[in-house]
């Protein structure tokens, strides 16, 4: 049985990255602190995975200031959305194959 593991996106192998993308799929923009709270993770961990997604051009970063506090928000790109959908399709396919085994 051929399993389409190669269709699974390497960028989403990490659970946190997949979770970040899930949030950005249904929200136009999400800020760093809200993401941190929602995903219950640390600053460093979240920042490194955001950076990885940014490098893949799956998300774009918007930096602005709220008063004097820096406010960083994230938005998913078309490329990121397409990759996410493909990843989900691949997961679905895997399940279907394992069920029919």
């Amino acid at each position: 049985m051929k399993v389409p593991f190669e269709k699974l996106d390497k960028a989403f192998e990490n659970r946190l990255r997949l979770q970040i993308m899930s949030v950005l799929m249904v929200n136009d923009r999400y800020d760093f602190n809200s993401l941190k709270e929602l995903l219950d993770t640390t600053d460093g961990n979240l920042a490194s995975h955001l950076k990885a997604l940014e490098k893949e051009e799956y998300i774009i970063v918007h930096k602005s200031f709220l008063g004097r506090k820096p406010n960083t928000t994230y938005e998913s790109t078309e490329k990121g959305k397409a990759a996410f959908k493909q990843h989900l399709d691949a997961l679905e396919q895997l399940i279907r194959q394992q069920k029919s085994k």
């Binding site: 593991f5 997949l18 899930s22 249904v26 800020d31 809200s34 929602l38 219950d40």
Partner: protein, 206 residues
């Protein structure tokens, strides 16, 4: 990858999509309680208004000698405070259980979209009360409350939107039938809240 692991991933994705865009910690029980408060208050208001000396069925609509209006206003504000207090307490409890921040991005958006129609309506009603247009109170409070719910429903359960639409419809009917303000108010804030709260409770609180 194991099937269980994949299922697990998909479940986590679905839950995050929901938790990140909707406030799912609204408590159904608090809706039921708010409805009960409203019914008790409406009963109490009824005894003040319909004391038998006159057929003041329409007292909430027709200008009376001032005194009852302020008592009624006091009762209304008390009910509002009680309902809000119960709602906030039970919602905080449920949010803790669901692992959703009570004061996060979503709850702030929810409050803002709810508060805008609610405050403008509330102030308009107060202004009109002081100018003696008592007939406006019941339909306007139902309509503005309905609008507040519809606009807040983008950030929470779709059920809230249906409740809002019912309140608006009820308010418009109340506006056509002057004199039955208290009755419609009791249906809108009492009966509808109890129905909505029970459905919410059975569907989501468990």
């Amino acid at each position: 990858m194991e099937e269980k692991e994949i299922q697990d991933q998909l479940a986590s994705i679905r839950s995050l999509m929901e938790r990140s865009s909707k406030f799912i910690s609204l408590s159904g029980l608090s809706g039921v309680l708010a409805g009960v408060y409203a019914l008790v208050a409406a009963g109490f208001a009824w005894t003040i208004l319909y004391n038998g000396t006159s057929r003041s069925y329409t007292a909430a609509d027709i200008q009376t000698n001032g005194q009852p209006v302020y008592t009624l206003l006091f009762i209304a504000i008390l009910v509002l405070a009680l309902s809000l207090g119960t709602g906030v307490l039970l919602t905080i409890r449920k949010a803790k259980r669901k692992g959703q921040p009570v004061w996060g991005k979503i709850s702030r958006a929810l409050l803002f979209h709810m508060a805008t129609p609610l405050f403008s309506g509330g102030l308009l009603i107060l202004i009109l009360i002081f100018r003696g247009y008592y007939g406006i109170v019941s339909p306007a409070s139902l309509i503005f409350y309905g609008l507040a719910l519809v606009s807040a429903s983008n950030f929470t359960f779709i059920l809230v939107r249906y409740l809002g639409l019912c309140e608006i419809a009820l308010g418009l009917i109340a506006a056509c039938l002057p004199g039955y303000g208290l009755l419609f108010w009791a249906i809108g804030f009492g009966v509808l809240h109890i129905i909505y709260g029970s459905v919410m409770y059975l569907k989501y609180d468990k």
